[in-house]
Point group: C4
Chain length 126, copies 4
């Protein structure tokens, strides 16, 4: 698989980091993830923008996904330019300088038993 | 991200608001959501139509998603022209005057522990 | 929304009806569903084919989705030409004489607390 | 359905085999699955590549999906060239010599009650 697979822009309309958790960290910490796969031979420079319901978007959060690697980016871990507030509705747009593939997941451990969701992100045709 | 991302028509074939809930409202109220992201520089006027198994569609439910904002629309909260009955199979079609991105989610808290689902909606090529 | 939305062939690669359930029927009976939305002005005649890991496909299961209606078809309820066995891996192909939109869901209630999954089906370009 | 449906390359950006389980094996063993549907009249030879965050991809894992059959491949069961470690982030790329349809699922039974996720994989246009 030499060829780069995917798109350079993706959108995830759902976004919500549950504000609390049950169980040992970090496995059972409530979190949202953007899984980003870079099959190409060169590193991908990725910019993530966060959109809110009541204020201007923030970003870019800068992430490097090395050549032939995957990175499961926890939105909880994004700190610069500012942490993403928990318990808040948001959406994200992911821009890469190389084609990548993006999937969205959430682990919600607010209660004793986990709940999971996942979906392919929306590939934007540019 | 200046360009408007997405499609102007989306469909969600699954729809069901669980008729009861466990846990404190509103976080743990069983609900269905259409997350709508508008990355454009202008407000999006969105019309939502609800399809049923045994009667004519109802709508439009009118929602504005402001420029560069996301709105996570709970189907439970739609009241005009009429509330969507709980415990009832439905589908939805979402029409916007500007391109948007739509994702569908459900939190089912009928039992003590939550269950979640989510998927990208179906982008209609018009 | 006068125009028919969607595709005439869809595929769902995942399929598994959990063989037992917890809680009152039918809401909490473990089930798999193909939600089929027909926005057109005419009834859709739908044929469903079931593929297995170890024997020839069976079908067609015939379903009518009336004009401007949705039908959430439980695979558990398909009986003709034969019931779909529970606890068995399968896939499905859904063919319609008019464009429809298809989404796949499962409620798994084998344990005390439910689990849910859902995804847009794969729209086939014919 | 004589025609082969789908794509010859698919990507799944999310991947994580939960490292432990609750409940009887194999139904309640935590697992990740790639459901692969081959509607064509001839067997599909499938190569699966696994991408990691911190080392080179491994593969190909070779799987045959017979003509007009589905195969629900548990990543847990892939052994050659080497087992996929549990508790580790990965992604996968699935290449087939015939068009197939791929869907991704996970059963997480680390806790007493199961959680499920599923999504259509990303169909690569080659």
């Amino acid at each position: 698989m030499k060829k780069a697979i995917g798109h350079t822009v993706w959108a995830i309309a759902e976004g919500y980091i549950p504000p609390f958790s049950t169980g040992p960290a970090p496995e059972f910490t409530s979190h949202e993830t953007a899984c980003i796969l870079n099959t190409s031979e060169e590193d991908a420079q990725v910019n993530i923008w966060i959109y809110f319901s009541d204020r201007d978007p923030i970003g870019p959060y800068k992430v490097t996904v090395p050549a032939k690697r995957t990175k499961h980016v926890r939105f909880n871990d994004l700190k610069d330019p500012e942490p993403i507030p928990t318990g808040t509705d948001y959406s994200s747009v992911i821009e890469s300088d190389r084609p990548v593939v993006v999937q969205h997941s959430r682990l919600d451990s607010r209660q004793a038993e986990n709940a999971l969701l996942s979906t392919i992100a929306f590939p934007v045709t540019t």
